[in-house]
């Protein structure tokens, strides 16, 4: 990727700040989705100086492909160290692709309570949505072929890795 990830994160933090103050919600709670989303959320959380600690979600128990591929190894506990009821939430993930992860994350968040609103921020979005999910804050858009995969490596340093899927030339 041509641009430095730190610069992309700076831009995302600025866009989030503007959006939150325009909507009159300056002190939201932030939730990252394991594993890459948590790294991005940590970076944004620091930049925005939010007062509440960062929440983390492992959506393994909410995935829609469980009956096909089974339990993900190394499930981590979800921890939301705050009540989500009536709070404005910024949900953060590394890559927005099919939208299924976000669907699972929203379902899990609503099992903790009823938030006032949810804003989605992603480091990367790519084409290929299978559900009507869109991010309000996007770090950058990548045009990738269907046989390509993008993955965030980290946590230090953060870098994006684009690979061809197995079995593809």
């Amino acid at each position: 990727m041509s641009e430095d990830i730190q610069a992309v994160l700076d831009r995302m933090a600025e866009a989030l700040k503007q959006r939150l103050s325009a909507r009159g919600t300056p002190d939201p709670v932030m939730i990252g989705i394991h594993t890459g989303g948590v790294w991005v959320a940590q970076a944004l959380h620091r930049r925005l100086g939010l007062s509440q600690p960062l929440g983390m979600l492992d959506i393994s128990f909410y995935r829609d492909d469980f009956s096909r591929i089974g339990m993900h190894p190394q499930v981590k506990p979800s921890s939301l160290p705050f009540s989500v009821d009536d709070r404005h939430i910024v949900l953060v993930d590394d890559v927005l692709f099919t939208g299924r992860t976000i669907r699972a994350a929203l379902n899990e968040i609503f099992d903790f309570g009823r938030p006032a609103s949810v804003t989605l921020a992603v480091l990367v979005e790519r084409d290929g949505r299978e559900l009507p999910m869109e991010a309000q804050v996007v770090g950058q858009h990548l045009s990738l072929r269907p046989d390509q995969q993008v993955k965030l490596r980290g946590p230090d340093p953060l870098r994006l890795e684009i690979a061809n899927l197995k079995g593809q030339p």
């Binding site: 492992d58 128990f61 339990m71 993900h72 190394q74 981590k76 506990p77 921890s79 939301l80 099992d111």
Partner: protein, 336 residues
């Protein structure tokens, strides 16, 4: 262990009970029948997954959609409240549908054979049998004869095994004490008749526990118990010295009737866990009991309700551990 196998008119006498029956040809866990044959890595993965389920108690909706559309049958041939209800809650928190069948009051009384009962339940497209039976080997028998799409989870068979109880005990110990290799664990009471003790000893061995002790009168110890990798103590005072965890077993009244013990009172005098005896163990020694405890027989009420007791935590963790096992078996992705 063949000497401990009991027979029942419902089930033919079992052959050997191979641990390999729990795995598919690809090494995937498809039934949980016994702790034997599980790897250190697999047990650790089960406990880690249970840790995630334990954190669910913070949610207002204490449920995940993992097993939506699946049907779990609690097939209990022997009375049980705690185990059945925690399995039922575990399945319901995974969004499965649950059927409780109490066989002692059901079809087999009318002369239907166990296999006929199984075939009928299979014909209703169920996905898992959770089996409790008074005969050792019952869960193996069912696993051997069940349709290939049905998983079997042993919830206690005779004197043989009670794997989920052992796993929830390991979960409780790990939460409080961390590394097993530094621990001395003592199991006290009726080792001879206890499927819980047998499964605990296997699990503690697989997790490389520093030292495992069994404390009991000779009449309540299996022959050659040392071959299981335990140190034997007939004197509770010597046995409790320097231990980090003490697990008390339930003493069943039938044992006194069988002449193995003189009286409950005498057992308490010799082997009951009192404050004064617990003081011989390491400070912070955990007190555990699979329940239901006979107060004043194997354990003093002040100890059972005291600050070192984690008996009620064991019950709570039983739900998370059973959720982990059920979802891992039915999810189909687990190999060792």
């Amino acid at each position: 262990m063949s000497s401990s196998i009991q027979t029942s008119p419902l089930i033919p006498a079992p052959g050997p009970l191979p641990a390999s029956l729990q795995f598919t040809d690809e090494g995937r866990l498809q039934h949980l029948l016994t702790i034997e044959g599980l790897s250190h890595a697999l047990i650790t993965e089960i406990l880690d997954t249970a840790e995630s389920f334990a954190s669910m108690n913070a949610k207002s909706v204490k449920k995940v959609p993992l097993l939506r559309g699946k049907t779990v049958v609690n097939l209990f041939f022997e009375a049980s409240t705690r185990t059945r209800t925690t399995f039922e809650l575990a399945a319901k928190r995974l969004s499965a549908d649950v059927l409780n069948i109490n066989i002692s009051t059901s079809a087999t009384v009318k002369g239907e054979s166990l296999l006929d009962t199984l075939r009928n339940l299979e014909a209703m497209y169920v996905d898992m049998f959770v089996v409790r039976h008074q005969a050792s080997g019952a869960a193996h028998f069912i696993a051997r004869h069940v349709a290939s799409h049905v998983a079997v989870l042993n919830a206690g068979d005779g004197r043989h095994a009670h794997p989920t109880q052992a796993l929830l005990d390991m979960f409780t110990i790990r939460r409080h004490k961390g590394d097993f290799s530094a621990l001395r664990v003592a199991i006290v009471g009726d080792i001879l008749h206890s499927r819980v003790a047998r499964s605990q000893i296997h699990a503690l061995n697989i997790l490389n526990t520093g030292e495992i002790r069994v404390i009991a009168p000779q009449s309540l110890l299996p022959a050659h118990v040392e071959s299981l990798g335990v140190h034997v103590y007939n004197d509770i005072r010597a046995g409790l010295r320097d231990v980090d965890v003490v697990i008390m077993l339930r003493l069943q009244r039938e044992r006194m009737e069988a002449g193995l013990l003189p009286s409950e009172h005498e057992f308490f005098q010799l082997y009951g866990l009192t404050q004064e005896r617990l003081a011989l163990a390491n400070p912070g020694c955990l007190v555990m009991h699979p329940g239901p405890a006979n107060r004043g027989v194997e354990i003093d009420s002040r100890v059972a309700d005291g600050p070192q007791s984690v008996i009620l935590e064991q019950v709570t963790y039983g739900i998370a551990v059973r959720m982990a096992v059920m979802s891992m078996i039915m999810g189909g992705g687990l190999t060792q």
